[in-house]
């Protein structure tokens, strides 16, 4: 038992550390629940797609895809194009997405080819590629826009007619266009979520029963019980605590964004059960064996990066429409590091990642982001400390996770050797 406990602690060290940081941070920040819930909710919807974009390359054995920065650029190019033609509202987002699809696929394809040439160093290659791509991006939009590339919307150009202004503001209709299509309060959304969860569990159980022609297995349906218990606990809390109910009612949830995220999750899950998903996993676990079995490893890896880049473009679009503007030349800079840090906080490693870890990571990481400056302000009377802390923590998380991963591998190897010797 003690051994299992130890194993659990080691395996989830980063996540546990973050839970503690978040709890302390929330206490120190001393903010109303409604504020914290609202912030967490909006940041979750804003960032989750970008984090989800990282999952597939991890399966393919390429580690954390730092080059999602390139996908983010594709999205920004899409928005610039749509704004140039003065399209606004949901249409702006649609056009931006349509423009970013081919761009991100091409970028992803080229990135994948580069990764195949630098196998084993995908992460550092992806990071440097991000810097390099930024150089080209800056060249195009800082110097070529205006003199070489005609810009219709003159308001986007700097006064001397060369280069785009920064930041680029989305107009009032476009800002939060997707989020504003349909909003419900968080209390309703959570009820809905629980009902969906229970319904899905029931459908799965019934399908299994019909397929295997077996009776209902009371012992195996623990997921269903957990969902129902969650619903009951939630209902009880809502009815007993005024503050919680108030906070939940105070918070709006963007339904359409939620649906987009849900679709992305479903597609990623679907992919994992397809032939292609199986190939991706096989290549990720052992490339040499996969090739010897006739799986075109290089092609599979390129496809994985292309998917990741496309999802990153979608993620950046959702991000920008929520904020309402973006710094033309720097908005993509931290996309990679922040998303990766969040995923790692959720318990993922460079070898394993899933949707649950992405969601948990987004929740924890962004809770820390919200409360850190406030806690710093309350503690030291200076928000700068908290600001410093959250930036520092972001990089620390990546460093610690990578070190822990390497350490775990060494430990696992040692255990295996010992086991072999005993045998």
């Amino acid at each position: 038992m003690g051994r299992q406990m130890k194993k659990f602690l080691i395996n989830n060290a980063v996540t546990i550390l973050f839970v503690i940081i978040c709890i302390i941070g929330i206490i120190l920040a001393n903010q109303p629940l409604s504020y914290i819930l609202g912030e967490i909710s909006s940041r979750l919807f804003r960032n989750l797609t970008l984090i989800l974009a990282l999952i597939i390359p991890v399966w393919a054995g390429m580690g954390m895809n730092f080059s999602i920065v390139v996908g983010a650029m594709a999205a920004e190019i899409g928005i610039i194009a749509a704004t140039n033609f003065s399209i606004s509202g949901v249409a702006c987002m649609a056009v931006a997405f349509l423009v970013s699809i081919p761009l991100s696929l091409v970028f992803g394809n080229l990135t994948g080819r580069l990764f195949n040439k630098t196998r084993g160093q995908e992460m550092i290659t992806g990071m440097i590629l991000g810097f390099f791509a930024k150089g080209i991006y800056d060249l195009v939009f800082m110097f070529l826009c205006g003199p070489v590339i005609p810009i219709k919307n003159k308001a986007m150009l700097l006064t001397n007619g060369i280069g785009l202004i920064t930041p680029i503001d989305l107009n009032q209709e476009t800002k939060k266009a997707i989020n504003n299509i349909w909003k419900v309060t968080l209390d309703k959304a959570l009820y809905f979520l629980f009902f969906v969860l229970i319904a899905v569990q029931i459908v799965l159980i019934v399908r299994k029963m019909v397929k295997n022609q077996e009776k209902f297995q009371w012992k195996k349906a623990y997921k269903l019980y957990a969902s129902i218990a969650g619903l009951i606990v939630y209902a009880v809390i809502c009815h007993t605590s005024e503050t919680v109910l108030f906070a939940l009612r105070f918070t709006d949830v963007p339904v359409v964004t939620g649906i987009i995220i849900a679709i992305v999750c479903v597609l990623i899950t679907y992919l994992s059960r397809t032939k292609l998903g199986s190939d991706i996993n096989a290549v990720g676990q052992n490339r040499a064996i996969a090739i010897s079995m006739g799986i075109p490893a290089d092609k599979v890896r390129i496809i994985a990066v292309m998917m990741s880049t496309l999802l990153a473009a979608l993620g950046q679009l959702i991000f920008i429409q929520d904020i309402g503007n973006f710094a033309t030349y720097t908005a993509h800079e931290n996309v990679g590091t922040f998303s990766i840090a969040a995923l790692l906080v959720g318990g993922a490693s460079i070898k394993k990642a899933n949707i649950g870890q992405a969601i948990l990571g987004a929740l924890l990481f962004h809770t820390m982001f919200i409360v850190a400056p406030l806690a710093g302000k309350n503690l030291f009377d200076n928000a700068q400390y908290g600001e410093y802390f959250r930036v520092f923590v972001c990089y620390a998380v990546i460093a610690i996770s990578l070190a822990l991963h390497a350490w775990k591998q060494v430990m696992a190897k040692r255990v295996a050797e010992e086991a072999e010797e005993e045998a």
Partner: protein, 529 residues
């Protein structure tokens, strides 16, 4: 036989940069037949298999001569994929399984059953869903054909090592078009009972009408399983016969082959004091990847040349590497009766032992440094020779080094412009001489030499071997020489220990008959000396 041959090698020849490694291999295999391919390391077995599988090394080195006929058709196989499509399957010595996948998924890897879906229809077949149920069903069927009770839904990582080989066979026989199965030392990692079980499986597969090429060093297995035995030696097919018309001893004799003249063995009759043990290994095991040894117990007498022989991958090279702290090891090493802390790097060097590594370019030499520095480096590091004191610092004393270096260059006949020439520019043989010189400059009591003649020309080879004999005689250095070339060991050694499956199988005199060496190498414990 009335049936058509599955495969016919017709006069296959292959050379690597002028070196003939296959010379006129010619044989055929019929459905349901098990052909055992025997031969020493370097006899050409793997080259022949590489040709059969169209591995890229073959084309890159200029292709091969002769023809391969598959089911009566002349074929040119240019990739493993093509070989697979023809119906040739292979089970490798090392496991080719995806560790995190289930047994069933591994068996059906890249041949998964899928259920068509809408997305798959529009985007591409690769997005069809896996039919997990059918995959498991097919897999259990294949396992059943082998008579194995393995849960197809178990993760491969969690399987006992012995079962993995069966999963590989199941994967091959699940291919509906399988006609020829190649097994490359499949029993190397299996225990005895598992190996027996495995052989039964192979028999079963053959009885289904699949031809099997079986490569193994275990002669017992070969005799038990094969219908026909083919022996390669130095690229030539020296023997082809029905198993029932031959005997284990005959095969062993033929594998080692080459006769060696009695007078070329210089150290057959020297006498040593069996009580005067300079180095004593007790239950020594080394975890060197690909060359593990376990439970080595060996006594080295003062002043002798001890050879360590055996096949590649059986752990002979790990002994010296373990003593010098290159890989994790355990067990007791007594040097003159004192325990040696071999796990500490450099400890062996401090105790007057020196090592000429088999990895000349990786471990043995600093290729971008001159001969002089390479020669004196170890001595400088361990004994602080060739150093001038300058206050708190020390500086390399080139003058002092130069003399020793020049002596060594002359002594070993190293062909170079001067001691300042970069080692990377020298030929293999001269590089090896630098390695030996470096080891000698430390004034060792015991010299470990690992594969000293690998990749060097005949002339240099002879000089090196003669030199080893000379320093042994004149300076009284005990030499422990590891080599894959048995004849080389026999020329200069007093005794030869044969290591197989990670342990010492026996110790022989250099003039012991071929057959005894061959039997020990194939892992059959013979009587010790």
């Amino acid at each position: 036989m009335a049936e058509k041959a599955v495969l016919h090698f017709k006069n296959i020849k292959k050379s690597f940069s002028g070196n003939l490694v296959l010379d006129g291999v010619d044989f055929d295999i019929y459905p349901g037949q098990v052909v055992a391919l025997a031969g020493e390391n370097g006899a050409g077995k793997s080259t022949l298999m590489n040709i059969l599988f169209g591995m890229s090394v073959i084309q890159e080195t200029g292709g091969y001569e002769g023809e391969i006929e598959f089911e009566g058709q002349t074929v040119k196989i240019s990739s493993p994929q093509e070989a697979m499509e023809l119906g040739i399957g292979m089970v490798h010595q090392e496991f080719m399984l995806i560790p995190g996948f289930t047994v069933a998924r591994n068996i059906k890897l890249n041949r998964e059953n899928v259920t068509p879906t809408m997305i798959g229809k529009f985007v591409g077949r690769s997005l069809d869903l896996l039919d997990t149920r059918q995959i498991v069903e097919d897999a259990s069927e294949a396992l059943e054909r082998l008579g194995m009770e393995i849960n197809p839904e178990e993760i491969v990582e969690k399987l006992p090592v012995g079962h993995m080989q069966f999963v590989e066979i199941a994967r091959e026989i699940d291919k509906s078009n399988l006609k020829l199965l190649v097994l490359d030392e499949p029993t190397a990692v299996l225990t005895e009972s598992e190996a027996d079980r495995f052989l039964e499986c192979i028999r079963q597969v053959a009885d289904e009408g699949i031809a099997v090429i079986f490569i193994s060093h275990r002669l017992d297995e070969t005799m038990k399983l094969a219908d026909k035995v083919i022996i390669l030696r130095d690229g030539q097919m020296v023997f082809e016969a029905k198993t029932k018309d031959t005997s284990k001893n005959q095969i062993a004799e033929l594998m080692v082959g080459r006769k060696i003249e009695a007078d070329s063995m210089v150290n057959v009759n020297r006498q040593f004091d069996d009580q005067d043990i300079i180095l004593d290994l007790q239950h020594f095991s080394v975890n060197m990847p690909g060359e593990k040894c376990r439970d080595i117990s060996l006594k080295v007498r003062r002043g002798e040349i001890l050879g360590i022989g055996g096949l590649a991958g059986h752990g002979k090279t790990s002994i010296s590497n373990g003593i010098f702290g290159m890989y994790p090891a355990r067990g007791t090493v007594l040097l003159d009766g004192q325990a040696l802390h071999y796990e500490k790097n450099g400890e062996a060097l401090k105790h007057a032992m020196a090592f000429v590594s088999e990895d000349r370019k990786g471990v043995g030499l600093l290729l971008d440094e001159p001969i002089s520095l390479n020669m004196v480096y170890t001595d400088m590091r361990t004994h602080g020779s060739y150093l001038k004191k300058r206050g708190f610092f020390t500086q390399f004393d080139e003058k002092a080094a130069e003399k020793s270096v020049n002596d060594m260059i002359k002594e070993l006949d190293i062909r170079c412009t001067s001691g300042k020439q970069l080692v990377g520019r020298l030929s293999g043989g001269n590089q090896q001489k630098v390695c030996v010189a470096r080891a000698l400059l430390t004034n060792p009591k015991i010299l470990f030499v690992s594969e000293p003649t690998r990749g060097i020309d005949i002339g240099a080879k002879q000089i090196l071997l003669n030199y080893l004999v000379k320093i042994n005689k004149e300076l009284g250095i005990t030499i422990i020489m590891t080599s894959s070339e048995l004849n080389e060991l026999r020329t200069i050694c007093d005794r030869i220990a044969i290591v197989s499956s990670g342990t010492v199988q026996g110790i022989l005199k250099p003039d012991a008959p071929n057959i005894e060496f061959a039997l020990l190498m194939s892992g059959e414990k013979g009587g010790r000396e």
